[in-house]
Subunit: 260 residues, 3 copies
């Protein structure tokens, strides 16, 4: 089966919806990527908020339009707050997205991510090694970096989507987005993005935001991947290394579709 | 009553004092804005230090020249460490500044901020929704973004200043700074600054630093707002989006008044 | 005794080894510098990972090639996780590096750093005030900034190296790197680097990475200092302030030795 590309008209429509609605995204994410994640969401036109306390997080996830759970710097205490936030989001019918950073390699986060799968995520975004590990088809990558290609993980992504009910996005040189039976692919981006911390984690936040948009869930998650890939390609063309990439990337997200 | 603009001579004097004294600012702030806050203080010539442990924080707040309390990613544990640091700063006669991020919307931080008001902050800096909520005149904004204008919050700011004894700064398109009877206004900046995370939080850190300067407290807090607004205007003119704004802004703070 | 400069051939060799091996560096570092530390390591070609939980950290430090312990925003809970990670790294014969941020000024971290010295760090990197304090020869600096020159701390660094068995790097206008009897010096960099948060902390992460390389330990740690000093000099020449320095610096690290 040859995956389809996302229709450019759908992509433009998703961007328009994104900017019109400015989803309020509750991010419970790792310590390393907080600033970049917030700036990516702001550049695209969303409204990020990081609320982490075990009492405040469930209060806020019921108010926000979407919730992101990223286990990059998990602790037992944070896991408890995250679970409470997920349950509250579910009760309020708000979509939540899982980024299973480095799942498989470490016990606490592996068990936690497996438990979260039962709580019906709207979307899951990971690299190939993470998706393979979460689907129970490998033991995980080397730290946070993928040691597998996205296409190799596509069957695992489809199985995971069927099992969890989530849209699953595997990112890599090409991104694959699937709900099980259907598969979309997104091209673009640049290998330079792997030399900047948080590009994958920020993509997960954009995926979370897109889950709050009306319309087709699969296309909305693919749109999130396409926003980041397009801005990444534009920024790589304008930058001389990973340092100049970051401001160029945020500017490109801001200008996407002719905003600036 | 028409608020006064800050005298440019006073502003130049405050900047000179700021650079000469290089205040050591103890920042207890949220996870999202730590790096940017430190870089803003360093660019302006202050010396930031983040100390968060419940034993170390009160030890350090007695040594530092000023303390910042920002409740953006509050937890119960952090609240205890913050309170201990505030009490220690008060005992050592060091000024402390409150940034009541998203107060009103969430219970833990709302109660905590109300309790802190009794501990005599030197200054309070927030957006209109936060100042209205802290003054008990509304239920708070939508997450961290203000849904009210600064001028609409001016009466609340004046009431809050009278009640707490603090200089209150409400930031927005125009900033208002008040001690109750007197009001100063600061213009400048750009709407692009709302697309960069931490501009408000970093302003609060600069306010905290300015509270350690000699001279008129109201003018010193207004000077903090003016430093940021001037650098913001300069940086917006040089940048093509929120990404390129950040380096341009830090460069502008560094060069303010002819430093570079 | 006149310290030697690092041989440029050795430096080129260390860089080549660094990029070929891409050391996986487990960073347990402070809240303020996480993103910058990760981006410095990525730009140079290493693979950073931040794992902080008391159960996960020792699991990961046995897998990673090197471990960094930076006490900048220490808490009692983090200290316990750090100690467990160090013990696990030692059991797995993986090198670990200590950055004793602001040691001497605050009780908890001073006691913790003293205890860690007994656990055989491969390297210690600090500013002059920190090295003097850790060696028991002064009471520490003013917060995180050094109030002493690197050359004044050289005898303390040598004593500390002899006592702990670690390579000790004192950074400042000139960096000194010593194993006790031998001393190397590294020049370069720029005073502008003191206006950017995390340059010292990121250097410690690069030192940690270099401890995983084969060859002479003293020369490898000196190479870490030289990578940062060279990139710093190049970036300062291209930047107009501390804001534009950051992207220029990361680009320079990426391009070091003709990579880009």
């Amino acid at each position: 089966m040859q995956p389809d590309l996302l229709d450019p008209v759908q992509l433009a429509h998703a961007l328009q919806q994104f900017r019109r609605r400015s989803p309020l995204v509750h991010c419970m994410t790792n310590d390393v990527v907080q600033t970049f994640t917030a700036n990516v969401l702001l550049a695209l036109g969303a409204s990020p908020a990081m609320v982490i306390d075990s009492e405040e997080a469930p209060q806020f996830s019921a108010i926000a339009d979407a919730l992101l759970i990223n286990v990059g710097t998990l602790t037992r205490e944070r896991a408890a707050a995250m679970r409470a936030a997920v349950e509250s989001a579910n009760a309020a019918h708000k979509p939540w997205t899982l980024d299973p950073v480095a799942v498989g390699a470490l016990t606490l986060r592996t068990q936690f991510c497996q438990q979260l799968l039962a709580l019906r995520p709207a979307a899951i975004r990971g690299n190939a090694s993470e998706i393979l590990a979460l689907a129970g088809m490998s033991a995980g990558g080397r730290g946070v970096d993928s040691t597998d290609t996205a296409s190799a993980a596509l069957p695992a992504a489809q199985a995971l989507a069927r099992q969890s009910g989530a849209i699953v996005a595997v990112s890599g040189e090409v991104d694959y987005i699937t709900d099980g039976p259907r598969v979309l692919m997104v091209t673009g981006g640049d290998v330079l993005m792997t030399r900047v911390v948080g590009t994958g984690c920020a993509l997960s936040a954009v995926v979370a935001a897109c889950c709050a948009l009306p319309g087709d869930k699969l296309e909305n998650v693919a749109a999130a991947c396409a926003f980041m890939a397009q801005a990444g390609s534009l920024a790589c063309a304008k930058s001389t290394g990973p340092g100049s990439f970051v401001p160029a990337f945020l500017d490109a997200l801001y200008a996407l579709g002719g905003n600036a």
